[in-house]
């Protein structure tokens, strides 16, 4: 048993962190095309290059710097589809974005997809669950989807597109065992954990420096205890997401356990990442409320994903449903190597 990132997994995540540190303007501009270019330079979008656990380690780093979508959609797609079906790396080279709708209502006939979709970014190819085959079949629009109407979100660095889709599309099967939707959720969970981690680290440093009543505020138990709770929640979040990723990678884990692991991670991260970011604001005091200090960006990114993709209450209900269907979910998984 080795329940932590391997040396290689850490190295890959560190190389991503370093690459983005060197290109420091990315954090300022939040250009999604620049983000995917840098990731592509590192080979991240090559099919089958990443296992899910490594992908989560990378997602942590991208969450820390608040990289804008749709890198998670593209990473999940590159991990799911073989290159001959969908070459994500080639799309990156052309600066073409690929996005999975947050919501959609579409139909497909005569090679054309029509309907509406809400995408996490404007001007992208849309990857839609196929109405013919259901999951895991997917439709890829062949033209860039033009957005009829884009809208700001609570997170200023994410502009969603309400798109009228009327495009040629081709149906692409999912030849991989991986489930694209779940993989995308896993990466978003990783991103949220990364964002919460960075937000918390910034807060702990602040509490060690900021003085009130002649002492560092971090020396007061009111602050210490809030920070300790956040540290505890972060540990639980990391364990839940990394385990869900490992379950996705591991052949010996059955489908019920894999689903339970993902529902659990959604329930825990969805609730706790938001709580951590809120506590971090409280521990910072007034400066947290200012635009320029930037702490608000972590909170906004976390609640954006919480409310559009992760939906912790729904995940809790789904886990309760699963309990009713599979008794094994109410037992510790044996996790025995085959």
């Amino acid at each position: 048993m080795q329940f932590e990132f391997s040396h290689e997994q850490k190295l890959i995540a560190e190389s991503v962190a370093r690459r983005f540190e060197q290109a420091s303007d990315v954090q300022g501009t939040q250009d999604p095309r620049e983000t995917i270019r840098l990731l592509n330079d590192l080979g991240i979008f090559e099919h089958a290059i990443l296992d899910c656990v490594t992908a989560v380690a990378v997602a942590y780093e991208l969450g820390k710097i608040l990289a804008p979508p749709p890198w998670a959609d593209m990473m999940a797609a590159s991990m799911t589809f073989p290159t001959q079906t969908l070459n994500v790396s080639a799309l990156c080279e052309e600066s073409t974005l690929l996005a999975i709708p947050l919501r959609h209502e579409t139909s497909f006939s005569k090679g054309e997809v029509t309907g509406t979709a809400m995408l996490p970014v404007a001007k992208a190819l849309a990857l839609l669950p196929s109405p013919h085959t259901g999951n895991p079949g997917w439709l890829l629009t062949e033209d860039i989807v033009s957005c009829s109407n884009s809208a700001r979100t609570i997170d200023e660095s994410i502009e969603i597109a309400h798109a009228e889709i009327n495009n040629p599309a081709r149906e692409i099967g999912s030849s991989s065992e991986r489930d694209l939707s779940n993989l995308r959720l896993l990466l978003i969970l990783g991103e949220m954990v990364g964002a919460a981690t960075a937000c918390f680290e910034k807060t702990v440093e602040y509490a060690k420096e900021r003085k009130q009543f002649d002492h560092e505020i971090g020396s007061y138990q009111a602050i210490k205890h809030m920070a300790a709770d956040a540290a505890m929640q972060l540990e639980a979040m990391r364990a839940a997401v990394e385990y869900a990723a490992w379950c996705t990678d591991s052949a010996q884990v059955d489908a019920a356990e894999r689903s339970a692991a993902l529902f659990s991670a959604r329930s825990i991260v969805g609730e706790q990442a938001k709580t951590i970011a809120e506590k971090c604001m409280q521990m910072h005091g007034g400066i947290a409320f200012t635009w320029d200090y930037g702490l608000h960006r972590f909170l906004k990114r976390i609640v954006f994903w919480r409310n559009t993709a992760i939906l912790p209450e729904q995940a809790g209900r789904e886990l309760a449903e699963l309990m009713a269907q599979a008794d094994s979910v109410l037992e510790n998984a044996p996790l025995e190597a085959t």
């Binding site: 048993m1 020396s219 505890m232 886990l319 109410l330 996790l335």
Partner: protein, 390 residues
Amino acid sequence: MDVAFTAEQGAFRRQIRSWIKENLAPDWGGPRFVGAEDEAENASFQQEWERSLHAAGFQGIHWPEAYGGRGKTIIEHLIVSEELGRASAPEGINTIGKELVGPILLALGTEEQKRELIPRILNLEDIWCQGFSEPGAGSDLAGLSTKAVLDGDHWVINGQKLWTSFARFANKCILLARTDPTKPKHKGLTLFMVDMNTPGITVRPLTQITGRQEFNEVFFDDARVPANSHLGEVDGGWHAAVGVLGYERATARLYRQARFLAEFRSLITILREKGLLVDADIILKSRAGALLAELRALRLLNLRTASRIANGHPIGPEASVIKLYWSEMHQRIMDFAMDALPGPMVTGDSQVERFRFLYLHSRAETIYAGTSEIQRNIIAERMLGMPRRG
């Protein structure tokens, strides 16, 4: 990353699971969840259970074979703990011996002490109690005032200990006492191994919130113990106690998660039988799911700790994370029971008696073995490096 157990570890799990099935009364974990109300009867029942576990080779799993242990790793210890928890097996009477004294002896005892005392813990010849807390020293343990003064070839002990579980049935006490009042409070303390039959020791039981009497007060009035009764260095007791406590906090109670999960299973069954948790109960369902997610996360924290130890990494303040997590989560599960079964939880509904008991019992869990507030201080100061004051 690899979270899997090996095939051998899987086989070991099946072995203990089938042993428990054959040896534990079938109604355990259901209508019977604690021993008899008569504490003496309960104590002999607990001893019998622990002896049978030892005879079957399921005690001292990760302790060295030279001292009567099984010489396996922390992972096998985790497996046994999980299986005992899964069956809601009776809690032993010698938990202080196994969870506190044994590890301290293994870390700090002389070779002679280890050879003599470790086997006696495992075979229950010695039952230990813990003389740490006092009326004036709970969270501020280092402020304790029980004194030990060297008089010729004996230490003379005077003072009072409180919340001392199992003291009535213990023949040994691991005692923390002040040996040098002139030193700063953390530095003048020594750990002693005291025979409970020593003249001058009086034990008085305390009735708890649940109506049971595991707690005791222990009085020391000129109790004389041999000069070589100390464990570790004289005046080095704080270091000894704290160093081992951290590790123990992380590893000793690994069975809890599986036990809580077993309770949760049983609670879900009751809710279903009462027609609850159906489609319309959106809020209850969502809460049930969220609690299961937390129970699963607790297991992952345990697996991570075991994996770190198995791979040779030290365990420090992260042990406090686990203590804080399980103790508060267990109370949340009982809150859920309170909300889902409001009437039955406070009236005589025999089906939920276990949860009524556990609701009350769980009040202690955020207090004993370091309160939640102390755990938070440890996490903030030792894990996050936040400044100490005063």
